[in-house]
Amino acid sequence: MYVFVVGGGKVGYFLSQVLVEEGHEVLVLEKDPARYDLISPDLGDVVMLGDGCELRTLHEAGMERADVVVAVTGDDEDNLVVCQMAKSHFKVKRTVARVNNPKNEAIFKQLGVDDTINSTRIIFSLLQQEVDVGELVPLSPLRRGDIEVVEAELTSDSPALNRAIRDIRLPGDTVVAAIIRNDQILLPSGTTELLEGDEVIALTRPPHALSLRELLTGAKAPSK
């Protein structure tokens, strides 16, 4: 796979090292000469000095051959423009942008970026996995983000307690994928009963997350 990385900061630098180790073809574009000098001894030919927002540079660097374009600079506007240029001018199939301001995530998707990485949200959901009990924990968004893998511990308040999965009213487009009970993973069927303390892992769409949480934890949605 040919991966075209724009931005040779910490994220771009470590990402390209890993990609090279995994045997991928990688090009990192870095516009700051000082940063370029710092990383080029390690990365060699993989890194190129140039502005990833200049169409000329992207042509010279062969963006049209890229299977994936990853924009990981510290500036959201630059990451957006790189991905849009990759799509509209170079017909790159998949673009991934780092989002520095979490509020920009939805806008990036709306404006045609395929995938976004939002470190604020990733760290936040990792923290939630540690601290929240009786909450619905987002484990991972699946590709394109309209399906999420979530987890919740079944509480004694849950309306689903001691009932078979086929008898509870799951919100639309929600599937119970696995149950962790006494450190064992169960792959449930319709007749599997949910017990207190079960860790329920489900696939759902974000609009249904609140009603799923209510079903599993008994917690009412906070009124705004």
Partner: protein, 164 residues
């Protein structure tokens, strides 16, 4: 009309002055509060401190009620992103971004964002001035972006045609 201007540099502040003089309702945004010193004394519009690529900041500027939005910061990409937010998130009827890079201006024009490439206009005007030709229309000057964009796609080198 109600106009939101992003960037209180020379163009932004002058446009704000021209529009308020004709009685229009202007809000101007800049990250740097000292940029507002460029506004005329007794400026009747509103000023908002913040970055134009943040939804909340745009909302504070009243963009939801605006008839027009123009992005004239000194960052091409910031102007592009802000203009797209104004257009696609806030559905402002008239949106334009000033873009220095003719190639990017052309690319976003093709993507349906109105762009004002002051580089193309300035160099076209200068060419007509020196060759003693009548001045062309704005559209014709903006069309020069296409010429530059094509030369890149045609695979010519950077130096060709620049002439020292």
């Amino acid at each position: 009309m109600r106009l939101v201007i992003l960037g209180c540099g020379r163009v932004g502040s002058m446009l704000a002055a021209l529009m308020t003089r004709e009685g229009h309702d202007v809000t101007i945004i800049d990250t740097n509060p000292s940029a507002f010193r460029r506004l005329p004394s007794g400026f009747s519009g509103n000023t908002v401190v913040g970055t134009g690529i943040d939804q909340e900041c745009l909302q504070r500027s009243g963009i939801e009620q605006a008839d027009g939005f123009v992005a004239v910061t000194n960052g091409d990409n910031r102007n592009i992103m802000a203009a797209q937010m104004a257009r696609h998130v806030f559905h402002v009827p008239k949106v334009i971004a000033r873009i220095y890079d003719p190639i990017r201006a052309q690319a976003y024009q093709e993507l349906g964002i109105d762009t004002l490439c002051s580089t193309a206009i300035g160099s076209g005007v200068l060419q007509d001035y020196f060759l003693g030709r009548p001045f062309r229309s704005i559209e014709q000057y903006i069309g020069l972006c296409d010429l530059i964009a094509r030369s890149v796609h045609g695979g010519q080198t950077e130096r060709e045609g620049e002439g020292a």
